[in-house]
């Protein structure tokens, strides 16, 4: 009784999936690679210039801040979301994408005011990133220093 139905169901699923467009995983990965790589190359150029004048750690920190500025500016100009549309994680994973995740919802919810609109929405994604990043780092550091140290 249940057997033929199961087979029919399987056949239906098989038929239905044959009509789905193939998920362009390879294409998406390639676009993410190219755009993400390009953003990191820009950062490396800035880091190279700053490294001639500043100590290493400071040069790295300043490079990240400049990239955050660029990401925020391009988001404001409406350019970064266009890049993100085809580059996916290639635009989201670099720190410019972190800046994008701050500006984009803040701008969007400006009409809800400057406290619960702009400033609260700035941390819609940045908040979770900071929370889980800090907690992960805390656990990792405790393990590294006090358990395996």
């Amino acid at each position: 009784m249940t057997r033929p139905r199961t087979r029919e169901k399987e056949e239906y699923i098989k038929l239905a999936t044959s009509f789905h467009p193939p998920r362009p995983i390879l294409r998406n990965a390639l676009l993410a690679f190219l755009v993400g790589g390009a953003i990191c190359t820009v950062a490396q150029v800035i880091l190279g210039v700053l490294s001639t004048k500043l100590p290493r750690v400071q040069a790295q920190a300043m490079t990240s801040s400049i990239m955050v500025f660029l990401g925020a500016l391009l988001t404001g100009l409406g350019v970064y979301d266009e890049i993100g549309r085809f580059a996916g994680m290639g635009a989201a994973l670099p720190i410019t994408g972190f800046a994008n995740s701050v500006v984009s919802p803040a701008m969007e919810f400006k009409r809800e005011g400057f406290v619960l609109g702009v400033s609260a929405r700035m941390f819609q994604v940045a908040g979770p990133v900071i929370v889980y990043g800090s907690l992960s780092a805390l656990i990792v550091t405790i393990l590294r220093v006090y358990v395996f140290g």
Binding site: F33, G37, T63, L77, M89, L93, A126, G133, T141
Partner: protein, 116 residues
């Protein structure tokens, strides 16, 4: 030469994140959060430091580098201040990036309006 390594390593990390996003059908925010935590773990295992040496901004620009900075800062402060360094090191090491995100993020959100 570091320019090429930055491109290849940064690009590879982004491509891997994209593949995870496509295969798991989660959302970009989830992948970003996971990347920071993964960066912290790789840093603790002593793997991310050498990657930064090798690829420079190619390793520090993706969000995994944020996790690495948090762990590096905490470890430094634990050496300097003892256990209380766990509460000071992470945000000290990442302060400039976070401050930049707050200042420039606020500024751009106030100055510009969404397109469309």
């Amino acid at each position: 030469m570091t320019l090429l390594y930055a491109f290849l390593v940064g690009g590879t990390l982004c491509a891997l994140a994209q593949i995870v996003l496509d295969l798991t059908k989660t959302n970009p925010a989830f992948v970003m959060v996971s990347a920071v935590s993964l960066g912290a773990v790789l840093s603790g295992l002593g793997l991310y430091g050498p990657l930064v040496e090798f690829a420079g901004a190619g390793a520090t620009t993706p969000l995994l580098g944020f996790g690495h900075s948090l762990v590096t800062g905490m470890m430094e402060d634990v050496v300097r201040l003892g256990w209380f360094g766990l509460f000071t090191g992470g945000l000290r090491a990442t302060a400039s990036g976070l401050m930049a995100a707050i200042v420039f993020g606020y500024l751009m959100a106030v100055l510009f309006n969404p397109k469309g």
